[in-house]
Subunit: 198 residues, 2 copies
Amino acid sequence: MKLKKEKSTPRNKDIRSLILDTALDLFSIRGYFSTSVHHIQKQTGVSIGSIYHHFKNKEGIAKALYDDLVGQMGQSMADIMASEENTRNRLKAVCAHLFELTETSPNVMQYILYARHREFMPDETPICSSRPFETIREMVRQGIEKGEIRQMDLTVASASIMGGAIRLIYLRLDGVLEKPVTFYLDEIWECCWKSVAP
Amino acid sequence: MKLKKEKSTPRNKDIRSLILDTALDLFSIRGYFSTSVHHIQKQTGVSIGSIYHHFKNKEGIAKALYDDLVGQMGQSMADIMASEENTRNRLKAVCAHLFELTETSPNVMQYILYARHREFMPDETPICSSRPFETIREMVRQGIEKGEIRQMDLTVASASIMGGAIRLIYLRLDGVLEKPVTFYLDEIWECCWKSVAP
DNA sequence: TGGGATAGAATGAACATTCGTTCTAATAAA
DNA sequence: TTTATTAGAACGAATGTTCATTCTATCCCA
């Protein structure tokens, strides 16, 4: 009985997660277009029929994955927003979080930052307009309002403050940095902050 | 005679260029994987056989295109390096050039920056290790040496100084900026420079 | 100059393969 | 029994590539 239940009941969620986890691995290693549904089938052991029972189609898998990951990241940003008071600490915490994520889950970072979502999810809003990035923008906006960041165009300020850090993340994901990005956190953060400080 | 020569001799180059130009358009609009060789055939009017006569295969088209564009950009960077003396002017000229290119040939910028080359050109070095980016790195290195940029890790300095500008280019290509990037040049450049100034 | 030989460029039908998706049957759960 | 889930064979469309053939321009020799 127990054995049966353990095998079956949690299966719904397990299978869905199993498919998404595997898809993330395959997508970020081989890319979306070079990953076939049959690959996912082989890697998960879940049958084709079952995959299509859980997701409308291949794009549906990519979309669900995207929503999950962007949702998680949005939550992290909201948490930082809530737990830190001043702009400088908030934004440094954002950088630190992104750097750690890059090291602990490069696949996640790769999929969020690097995959050309619009290429296979035509209706998706560009990543930079999604909630996590909107939250960062809001942090910057408040920073300008409070005078912690000098008066300037909001978009330029956001790009400037995150640009260097994101650049480093790309370099790390591309295998160009030999040390973990986290190693460079303090140094790059000083640059980021100086670029917009009053 | 002359007529004949004009019609025939340049044809080799014309067809090759026609294929590359069209491929660039299609690749940057629909993406590499959503562009079939048959699409290129239809758009150019050049027969399939002829396409395969000029290029080894589809990947060969992408690679030739990449080499051409990266070569051109490398030349531009070398020109700037040669024509400007001090680091600040050099790097601002680099930003200005990239911004102008983004406005005049967004396709080129899109292909160079955004396409996941490693996904379909497995042997290609990551863009950030290619010659144009190496030249930028060398500019920064000299800047640090001469004390125009403060003492710091070279990679971090490069990422910091170009990060914000590149970020803006991405935003523009994604259709998030309503105004041309060139409009923001002075403002973002001030940020970039402040981030690494002594 | 004229005419055949040669090289290489262009053609597009045909091919094998892969892919996303559907369908029907079997199984498990309620 | 009824409903939800799993299974995997089958399908059709699309793709990258090949190849036998035709066309065109240049070269060579009479």
